[in-house]
């Protein structure tokens, strides 16, 4: 008691005022609830690898889709006099980047030999037909990315449709649909893709189709499993009690809640699609020459890699960077959206 009195003495009387019951106490400002996107972004930002790879991916995608503007040459324009020139960078005097190469133990200036005018640089060198590799890489990345994005989008759509339908219908229909999936998943996707490519004329559309045919299955499975889980939740029950149609429940109550997992899945399916495209083109059943894709560039580079290693290493590095970035970014997304998911 004395204690309180002592403290009371420390506070001047002016600090006190009579209590007014009507007066509205200002509510301490609560932080606004974060939206789904904001929350995800906040978590994703903590993962350095994911942020770095995201920026890288944005840059690569931008470069690839700006290829028509950025590439110094037409990707199919041939300069037969300037074939197989090594990379040359303005202002860099390092072997490998200054337009010279070793030929029978001697350093040769290939640009001088090919009578390339001064001030003409091929940053990535040229290939066996004298086509500018930088332009081809830009266009090639553009094609590869386009194929991957469309394929991922399509198998996302089909997978969601199939999975949600199966989960919502349930019963006999669900069983049959799952059996179909089981049978289809026994087919090695690679073999399926190759067979499809043999039957259709190789080209962007057929590659995309072939990949979609084999890769929507895991997506459908995940969506169904999650859908089944959510279907028995109470909020779905209450929506049903309020008279919401099955379609509405599926699209506006279940789908938003599985979007995280679906996004992660889709992100993982992009590098898979890129892998398939390069793989098929490398084998010679994918994109047809002279169209540039990362796969055909690798294929072309591999044929001459003992003589002109840069023609293979440049596309190989681009491919590795893209694949690594997508995988790391997808890993980061997975930690954000679905920390329990373990593969």
């Amino acid at each position: 008691m004395r204690d309180i009195e002592q403290k009371r003495a420390l506070i001047p009387d002016s600090a006190f005022r009579p209590w007014e019951p009507d007066r509205q106490e200002a509510e301490p400002e609560l932080p606004r609830a974060l939206s789904f996107l904001e929350d995800s972004w906040r978590k994703l930002r903590k993962n350095k690898a994911a942020v770095v790879t995201m920026i890288l991916l944005v840059i690569i995608t931008a470069l690839a889709f700006l290829a028509p503007v950025l590439s110094p040459f037409d990707p199919n324009e041939q300069h037969l006099a300037w074939k197989n020139l090594p990379p040359k960078w303005p202002g860099v005097n390092m072997n490998g980047l200054n337009g010279t190469s070793t030929f029978r133990g001697r350093l040769v200036d290939n640009y001088a030999l090919a009578k390339v005018p001064e001030g003409q640089y091929f940053l990535f060198g040229t290939d066996e037909f004298g086509r500018d590799l930088l332009s081809r890489c830009l266009w090639g990345t553009r094609i590869s990315l386009t194929i991957a994005f469309i394929a991922a989008l399509l198998d996302l759509t089909i997978g969601i449709f199939y999975g949600l339908f199966s989960a919502m219908k349930g019963g006999r229909c669900d069983t049959i649909m799952q059996r179909i999936l089981e049978i289809l998943s026994g087919i090695p996707s690679l073999v399926l893709v190759v067979l499809m490519l043999l039957v259709f004329e190789p080209g962007i559309t057929s590659i995309i189709l072939a990949m979609v045919i084999s890769s929507w299955i895991p997506m459908a499975r995940v969506v169904r499993a999650e859908g089944l889980k959510l279907k028995s939740m109470e909020y779905v029950l209450s929506a049903r009690a309020l008279g919401a149609s099955e379609l509405k429940i599926a699209l506006s109550h279940i789908l938003p809640n599985i979007s995280g997992i679906v996004i992660v899945r889709a992100m993982f399916s992009i590098p898979t699609a890129i892998f398939f495209e390069t793989f098929l083109s490398f084998l010679g059943v994918g994109m047809k020459i002279p169209n540039a894709s990362i796969g055909t560039l690798l294929n072309g580079g591999y044929k001459v890699f003992k003589l002109y290693p840069y023609q293979m290493f440049i596309p190989a590095i681009i491919l590795c960077v893209i694949m690594l970035s997508f995988n790391l970014f997808a890993d980061g997304l997975r930690d954000v959206f679905d920390p329990k998911m373990k593969e």
Binding site: I187, L190, V191, L195, L298
Partner: protein, 312 residues
């Protein structure tokens, strides 16, 4: 026991159904292929084409050929290769399966051992430098396509350093080293990541705590006590691993010019050799389906906590 018989019976039925569907689908797809399987087809006259078609039975109605083919496949007869002077496909593939199997086994063995080792090391040093290194390694191994790895290895060790043969299959073990390494990258990455996740969980469990309290060294705890439980779920990766090995073999065998199934498959694709394409497709699918089946069975035998689906 009855439960098991029923389960295995259903599974075998679906396996057979899957293979049947694959066989049929491939058959009809093959017959929809543009072009003919003959060399110099542009120079053949119609009469010659008719004769060739008659010789190989391509003049019969589609359905009849389909039934014939199915019957033959059941008897182990996969037709004759149209590319290699009428050799039976079964013999042709029989000669080529050896290198593929050897490479596959070597790659799985090497890849998993190293991968498991790295995974355990990573889990022991969770979130520290070694862990980050192992995880980076695993993700790189998963991202970089194996044909890029193969080409890189070939460039470094065969072309530049000249330590190992560039390709072919004539120097015994020495010629298997580079292709094995290239193929083992993906099982290595896969098992490293998998074991790490498992071991992180296992290492925080009570019985490990007890072993630690007894004063065992961390390494012994991890490798003798922890790994025993961490290894079980690795069986589930077998399926994806087989798939990636099959995919890998196609292109790695081509790069190193190894006379295996994968190289044969690519060749037959590029030359429209119908019967070989179909035989390899069936072979690959059969392999995948049986690996998945075995995985499920093994898993249930080893880990009694996993219940058979649908059993009461």
């Amino acid at each position: 026991m009855k439960r098991w018989t029923k389960y295995i019976g259903t599974r075998l039925f679906y396996m057979a159904l899957t293979l049947f569907i694959i066989t049929s689908a491939t058959f009809f797809l093959m017959n929809a292929l543009p072009g003919t399987p003959y060399n110099n087809q542009d120079r053949l006259t119609q009469v010659q084409l008719d004769m060739l078609n008659k010789k190989y039975g391509f003049d019969q109605p589609l359905m009849q050929r389909y039934v014939n083919y199915l019957g033959n496949v059941l008897h182990g007869d996969f037709g004759v290769s149209l590319q290699f002077s009428d050799q039976p496909v079964a013999t042709l593939l029989g000669q080529r399966i050896g290198p593929s199997i050897q490479l596959g086994l070597q790659a799985v063995a090497f890849g998993t051992v190293i991968g498991v080792f790295l995974g355990v090391i990573a889990a022991m040093h969770q979130n520290r430098a070694l862990d980050v290194f192992c995880s980076l390694f695993a993700i790189t191994g998963r991202s970089v396509p194996n044909f890029v790895v193969a080409v890189l290895l070939q460039f470094i060790f065969a072309v530049t350093l000249k330590w190992l043969p560039i390709g072919l299959w004539d120097e015994g073990f020495r010629s298997t080293i580079l292709p094995t390494l290239a193929l083992s990258i993906s099982p290595m990455a896969e098992s490293c990541r998998f074991i790490r996740t498992e071991m992180v969980e296992v290492l925080s469990s009570d019985y490990i705590e007890l072993a630690r309290a007894k004063g065992m060294s961390e390494i012994r705890i991890a490798f003798t006590h922890g790994l025993r439980n961490g290894l079980i779920p690795l069986i589930t990766v077998l399926g994806p691993m087989t798939v990636s090995l099959m995919t890998g073999s196609l292109v790695v065998e081509n790069i190193f010019a190894i006379p295996g199934i994968g190289e044969q498959f690519t060749k037959s694709i590029l030359s429209n050799d119908y019967y070989t394409i179909m035989a390899v497709t069936i072979l690959f699918s059969a392999l995948l389906v049986s690996v998945i089946f075995l995985t499920d069975i093994l898993y249930q035998i080893i880990d009694p906590r996993v219940r058979i689906e649908g059993a009461k």
